[in-house]
């Protein structure tokens, strides 16, 4: 591996200042599961690697019980999310997505912030955060700003972050009552594999447990960046959610997608799977909602 100087700032300000000092010869690093591979393979060769691991508070994971807002620090690992009861019980779509990223060894190191910044079209971590209307807090030389996770991605491997900016945390607004959510990483196998297609669905219903008050259909590997099938969502909102309607929404989502042929799969197959899995994930959302209603 090409030698570099490893810097371990103790504060965000120090990290940004170090980047300012070394600029294009520097890279930030979170868990390292992507950056170290890229340095080893020669895709990048920074002279200075600025680790964010020593900055306190970046691995904070908590829900504010007053506001209902969920905060996920950028350095929270996939394993921390996978093993959190809060995530498992209240944000099943996050659990579904992170529990099959890489392997356990990778999940013990890899972080949610790193997964977003890496900006691969297949980023499992991005889909649930988009479905949950999450926003990312960015801190950089010019101060801080908040960007919706859905607007974070420009094209494969490129985000809206400007040089020196650091993604510090994700904020998920309070979920509306009677919300269910689910994600499936669809492919030949789950572990150590990118999905052929990733499908995340979030549904909320009215007190009648039928009329849809909010729908989110988010797709990974369905275009250059993670995307929302907005027209399919609109078909559901305001309507009683039935299996047939979910089938129609699935068809619509497949049409809205920008899937293509690649070494891992054909576009027609990906479309078929979107059609089938939007329905299945939608039904799972309803199951979750009904189960919670029975418990209440």
């Amino acid at each position: 591996m090409k030698p570099f100087t490893y810097l371990t700032p103790a504060t965000m300000e120090e990290a940004v200042a170090l980047f300012g000092q070394h600029r294009e010869t520097a890279r930030y690093m979170a868990g390292g599961t992507d950056v170290i591979v890229k340095i080893k393979d020669g895709w990048m060769g920074p002279d200075y690697l600025i680790s964010l691991k020593q900055i306190p508070g970046l691995n904070d994971l908590h829900k504010n019980e007053n506001t209902g807002e969920l905060t996920i620090g950028a350095l929270v690992t996939h394993a921390m999310l996978e093993q959190s009861l809060l995530i498992r019980n209240e944000y099943p779509i996050i659990y579904d997505a992170v529990s099959n990223i890489g392997s356990l060894q990778v999940r013990n190191m890899g972080t949610i912030g790193g997964n977003l910044i890496n900006a691969v079209p297949s980023a499992d971590g991005a889909i649930p955060l988009i479905a949950l209307d999450g926003s990312a807090l960015l801190v950089g030389p010019e101060g801080e700003r908040s960007v919706l996770v859905k607007d974070l991605f420009v094209k494969p491997y490129e985000t809206v972050l400007t040089p020196g900016e650091i993604l510090t945390r994700i904020t998920i607004p309070a979920q509306v009552p009677r919300t269910g959510s689910a994600y499936i990483k669809f492919g030949r196998r789950a572990a150590m594999e990118l999905p052929l297609i990733g499908i995340g669905v979030l549904l909320a219903v009215d007190e009648d447990l039928s009329t849809c008050t909010r729908a989110r259909i988010c797709l990974g590997v369905a275009g250059p960046t993670p995307l929302r099938a907005v027209k399919a969502e609109q078909m559901l909102e305001g309507q009683p959610v039935t299996s047939d309607l979910l089938t129609e929404a699935g068809k619509r989502a497949a049409e809205e997608s920008q899937v293509r042929n690649s070494v891992r799969g054909q576009a027609w197959h990906r479309k078929e799977m979107i059609r089938v899995q939007v329905r299945r994930m939608g039904l799972r959302c309803l199951d979750i909602i009904n189960q919670k209603a029975r418990q209440a």
């Binding site: 591996m1 490893y6 170290i36 080893k40 394993a79 392997s103 356990l104």
Partner: protein, 186 residues
Amino acid sequence: MTKPISFILNGDEISCDIQDHWTLLHLLREELGLIGTKEGCGNGECGACTVIVDQLAVNSCLYLAADVQGKQIQTIESLAVHTGSLHPIQQSFVDNGGIQCGFCTPGMIMSAKALLDKDPGADQETIKHALAGNICRCTGYVQILDSVAAAGRQMAGNQGEGAAAAKDPGTITQQSMNKKAGEVIT
């Protein structure tokens, strides 16, 4: 850049100088001579280099040596005691045919140990999920999963029967080895 670090390696305090770009795998194998941990792909895909850092299984090929400062590291070398007695997981791999060429074994066993230390009663699905990042190219997965499940039962038993049983792996090992030897002869 060279810098001093100190950490706990297999129960011993270690202080040494490292280069910033060294991985933990490099530190273990090339500098400290602990060659039980293997390098397979070098990219976090195969799990051969798995070690335990603060109770978590990680790929030592992606883990920077600089990041082990102040941490507790366990490698495959920590499992067998000095008298030659094997750890229940190692013995179970021997007894259940969980080893073929052996290259993936240290990583498999460290992944298994990280799991069973927390959850010795792990079911088949949990074991598969924990070991999904360890590739065996001899493809003896069924025996490996059986080995881990059997080791878990043994470790749970040891915990249940109290400290005496847990502290006496020598007896267990000797019995198992005799049994194994007997099987080979007949």
